[in-house]
Every structure is written in C-alpha cells, then in structure tokens.
Symmetry: C2
C-alpha cells in the first residue's frame, strides 16, 4: 500500500518548523538566543550529586516534585503549573487541547513562527495581524479575528519589544477565548505577566529554562494557568514528560533562581553596549527587552547578505525572508567577549564586503 | 469567560492514562516493568565524561547524531529512524500523524491501555478485538475492523505473549493501512520484527530504553519505519525532542548494547524460576517472553485482593479491573534477590490473608 494516502492532509501539507541553524564547531552562535554564561558552580555541584539516582525507574508521572518546587519559586499552587520538554512542548499541548479542525489562532506579526507550523499541523489556521506603529499591541485587529486563541510572545520574538502588561490584561478581558502569553524572554524584561493569572482564567503563561537559565540543552519549560486548563492539558500530555536528569537539574535551578540574577543583569548591560556600538555603525536597533537585538542593517545590503558575510567571519546570526523583514537581522546578546567579537567582525564586514555601499 | 467551553470535547471527555503507581520509599516496585540491573559501569563512566558538554546550547534539532548511531546499531539508515521522549511520545506522534476525527484503530485485547487514551484524545476510536484462544493473533477479526491503524504490542502487555513474526507480516500485507508493532519488551523475546521493515512500508516498529536498557528515568524511545512515514512524523514532532543529557546516555548505550546481554539473560532465567515457584503455589502463569509475568491468582481471591495483600508486604504489583482480568496480576521480573522477596511474601500472604480460601 501507499502510506501517503493515509497520512493526515494537514501533516502532508505542512512544511515543518526550521529551527536556528545548528552549531558549527569554531563558530560563534548568535542565532538561537541561548545564554553564554555557564550554570553557577553551586548549582552544578548539587545537580551532579543527585543526577544518577534510580535512573532505572520511571520519573514521577506528573512531575509533582518539580511542580511543587516551581509553585514555591513563583508563588503559585501545583495545580496551576505544568512542566514540559521545553516550552515548545507546552505550546504544542495548548493547540492539541483547544484547537479543532478549522479553528482560528491570532498572533501579532512578525511573531514566533513556530506557532505557524504547530497551528497548521493541528488543523487550525493562524491569522497574523501586523503590529501597530512602534510594535504597539494591535488590540482591535486581534479581537476582530474572533480567534479561539490569541498568542503573544512577550517580549516578542523576533522584535524584542515588550507589550505593557496592563494592555495584555485588557486584551485578555475583552477576548472571548484563550490568551497565550509566551514569556520565554521575560527574565530580561522590566515587567512580566505573572500577576495576570489571578482573576484571568483564560490566560496561559509559558516560561523556558533555555534562555535566562543557560540550559537550552536540558529541555525544560513551564506553563502557568487555571486549574481547569492545566487539568485538561495534563490529559493530553504523555506520562513522564520530563526525564529524571532534567528533573534534577530543573528542581535545583528553581530552588536557586536568584543565582542567575547577576548574569541576567550582565546580559542586559551588554544589550545596551552592543546596541550603541551597532547604532554608530549604521544599524537601526529596535529597543529590546530580550537577550537579543532586532536590527535593520545599513542601506545597500539586506539581512541575508549580512548573514553570509558574518558567516564568513564564523558568526551565525538569524535573517528573515518576506514580511518586510528582508533588511533585518536578529542577533543574540552574549557576554562582553562575544559582543566584542561581533562588533569587530561587523567592522571587518563593513570594510571588506559592504565597502562600496557606504 | 468559562474556559471549559473552548476545550476540545475529546479532551474534556478523556479520562487520561493512569500509569503504574509511583515508587513508595522502602517498597519493592514490581508494577511498571522497570529493570533492576544497573547500567554497566563502563557505560556510566563514558556518560559521566560527556554529560555536561555545552548544556547552554540547544540539542541537535533532529537528533541526527543519535539517529546515526542507532542506524549503525540496528543495521538501518538514519532516514528510517526517529527518536522520542520515550516510546510513548512516538506512539502519540503516530496517532497525530495518521488519525483524523472518527478514524478507527484496532488492537487485540487485552492490550496496552495507553493506546485507548491516546486514540481518544486524538478524536479517533480504538476498537479492541479479543485474542484468539491461547493469545493467538485474531487476524480476521482485526482486518474486519477496517481500521486505519492496527496496533500490536509484541510481546504483548499485559499478557507477555509473543505473536509469531511471520503472522505479523501476513497481517501487515493483508491490511490496507498502518501496522504499529510496539516492541517495548522484545529484547526479552526469542524473535523480533526488525526484518519486516524491508518491503513493508506500512509497518512502524517502536523500541524503548525503559525496559531492557535499565534507563526508564532518562526517557528514550526509537521508531523505525519507511522514510516517508518518518519524514511526516518528524514534521509533527517538536524540535529538540531529546535533551542533551538523554542524548549522551542513549548514544553511549546504543554503541555498547551488547553489554546488556548478560543481564537480559539473567532476567529471562529468573522469569522461568519465578514462573515455576508461582505455579507450585497455585498461580497460573501465561508463558512470557517479556520481563514480567501475567498470572491468574489462585481461586478464592481476585487480583485486587492480592495487590492489597502484597502492598502490606511492601510490594507493588499491577492488577486489572474488567475485561475478564479481575483474577489476574502482572508482576515485573527482577533479579534473583527481588524474586526471592516476592516468593517469600506470596508465601506470607497465602498463610495470613488467604488461608481460609486454600
């Protein structure tokens, strides 16, 4: 038989999501917003002491221990929390819990394109609504979609901009559906949406350990929402979503989150320093509240040209095609040493590749 | 708003799967078919040497390294392999790739009940078809369902019985749809279905590291199938399905699978020894090709009674309700020391709890 004839149409037609280019040995990876600061030694020691406990046994099927620790860490209750194999698993669980064939999801655009492939695989339709001027929340346009779900990445990816939390709350209250607030980058921002959970049953907040907590490799994410939503999402999730190695790591980090404060501050500082350096070189930087900069490249070349030029300098960055973003780049903010290499390489590019244009 | 009104009906109506009872400190856990033999020291050493490499970076988004090592280990090609967060993630991906609202899945019964909750969450319907006498494959009855997918756990859970591989192949060839062969326990059996992949595009084989490889805690499973099926299932799977810690562990195990041969043999030996011990005590043991025994308890009490009695002896086993299995227990085969405790405790139960009945 031809297997193709029984594969779901929405899967056959899907492109699949393309994540940031893989690491190439010897290259500086500024394309996936990872964190260059290592996990604090105090945490690593505690992790190593507990990592090999009873690996022959299944983990806690509902991750109750790590959820309890997360509850304490974020001032919530276990029933309002679930954990996942990265926040991307949790995003996918949201669509699998709420979206039926043909349902609409609305997202400000440009936004996190992973939502596109996830919604379409589930058989739903993502409606992308342009940001208002200066990346203001397009409240009326989002509501006008009459979507079952509105999804907002805040700070937004790829722009790095933060919508004021009171505007998000007003949107949630005006919206007759679910509002997903993906706060992957929120630890680098000046505000967050945690306070909205109280009294807004229709909000889900997502967090990840891949950015501020320096462990993209372990795959750990959190969802905060109403008991009813979490209870139903847990039914859709597989048993044992988080392996024991990740569980030990995440639990230890959750207990000592404050140990990351200083490196988060360093990244915020480098964000300002790098933004200034790039501005003086003709790049237009969008004010960022994330661990990356979204920049318009100087006239005369586009984002793809810069991606190629920087790749020759052994630096990987992210460029975009379409949506009016052809002249944009997204660049991860690292430590001072990585940012110095970036600025030096940009100078090299300006001199060699883009000389005639400036 | 009331969030309930927008949750998918199939999710609201779902019960969710109940995995084996969690470990209780000080209890002997014979209820989830884990493996009591530790991972060989040679493997652990190699794992420890590589475990903390670049955790700040995302893993390989398509797990290509571990898939390449698996390809070598099982004599397949990377394109015919995908990995998952346990084989349960892969099972769920199969349903999400193939099952539309209302589609049928057929399974011999009693079978692995996780399929029930997964199919219903996806909006499909699982049709359970009784095994023929002596747990023979009910070929005609399975085909008569005209299901999109036939799913067979082989050796079967909870019965431990193995369908001959040539019968599975004949079924796959007669079936105008997909055949899923869940081989979670196959390393304890005398045959396996790997040879069926060549020439049968409609077969998917699942494997797990939770049983024979002693690492249920790390969450690692494999799916083998045609390139076309794997390509489509990868679109449905989230990026970075397997964290780096698990990836390092699994890669090391895959390279040295032969190191597990002796403990697998020990478990098979204990299976025979325990089967004989239980038989002399009035239990009727189904011949098992897995790392557990499926037994009918002696007349006068049912499986739940024995579960309660053994729990008082600090041993956890699995009992069943309905499907004519009320007088059955499923008991994991451990090492000689665990099996001695089991037999001694059964003797205690026979003496104290079930005395009047025998």
């Amino acid at each position: 038989m031809n297997i193709r004839k029984i594969i779901r149409k929405s899967v056959q037609n899907a492109q699949g999501y393309t994540p940031g280019e893989q690491c190439i040995a010897g290259y500086l990876k500024l394309n996936a917003n990872e964190n260059f600061y290592p996990v604090p030694e105090k945490i690593l020691e505690e992790v190593k002491a507990n990592l090999f406990d009873s690996l022959a046994l299944y983990p806690d099927s509902r991750s109750e221990t790590v959820r309890d620790v997360a509850a304490q860490s974020y001032g919530l209750k276990r029933g309002n929390i679930m954990v996942g194999n990265g926040s991307s698993e949790l995003l996918s669980l949201i669509y699998r819990t709420f979206i039926e064939e043909g349902d609409l999801v609305a997202m400000p655009s440009p936004g996190f394109t992973l939502n596109r492939s996830m919604v379409s695989i589930q058989g739903g339709r993502l409606v992308e609504v342009g940001w208002s001027d200066g990346y203001q929340l397009p409240v009326e346009a989002l509501l006008a979609v009459k979507a079952k779900i509105i999804v907002i990445t805040n700070p937004n990816n790829p722009t790095g901009t933060l919508c004021p939390i009171n505007e998000i709350e007003a949107l949630a209250q005006a919206h007759d559906g679910l509002l997903v607030l993906d706060e992957a980058y929120v630890d680098f921002a000046e505000d967050n949406g945690l306070k909205l959970l109280e009294g807004n049953e229709n909000i889900i907040i997502l967090r990840t350990f891949s950015k501020s907590y320096s462990v993209a490799g372990i795959r750990f994410g959190l969802a905060f929402s109403s008991k009813e939503t979490i209870r139903n999402m847990l039914k859709v999730q597989n048993s044992y979503p988080v392996g024991k190695l990740t569980e030990v790591f995440a639990t230890t980090i959750l207990k000592k989150r404050a140990l990351f404060d200083s490196t988060i501050e360093q990244i915020k500082l480098q964000r300002e320093v790098t933004s200034k350096e790039l501005s003086t070189r003709g790049f237009k930087c969008t004010p960022s509240q994330a661990n990356f900069l979204f920049v318009k490249v100087p006239a005369g070349a586009n984002g793809a040209d810069w991606y190629e030029a920087l790749k020759k300098e052994k630096i990987l960055v992210r460029y975009f095609e379409g949506q009016g973003l052809d002249d944009c780049l997204r660049v991860t903010i690292g430590r001072s040493e990585e940012m110095k290499i970036l600025v030096r390489s940009i100078d090299g590019c300006l001199q060699h590749f883009f000389k005639s244009d400036l």
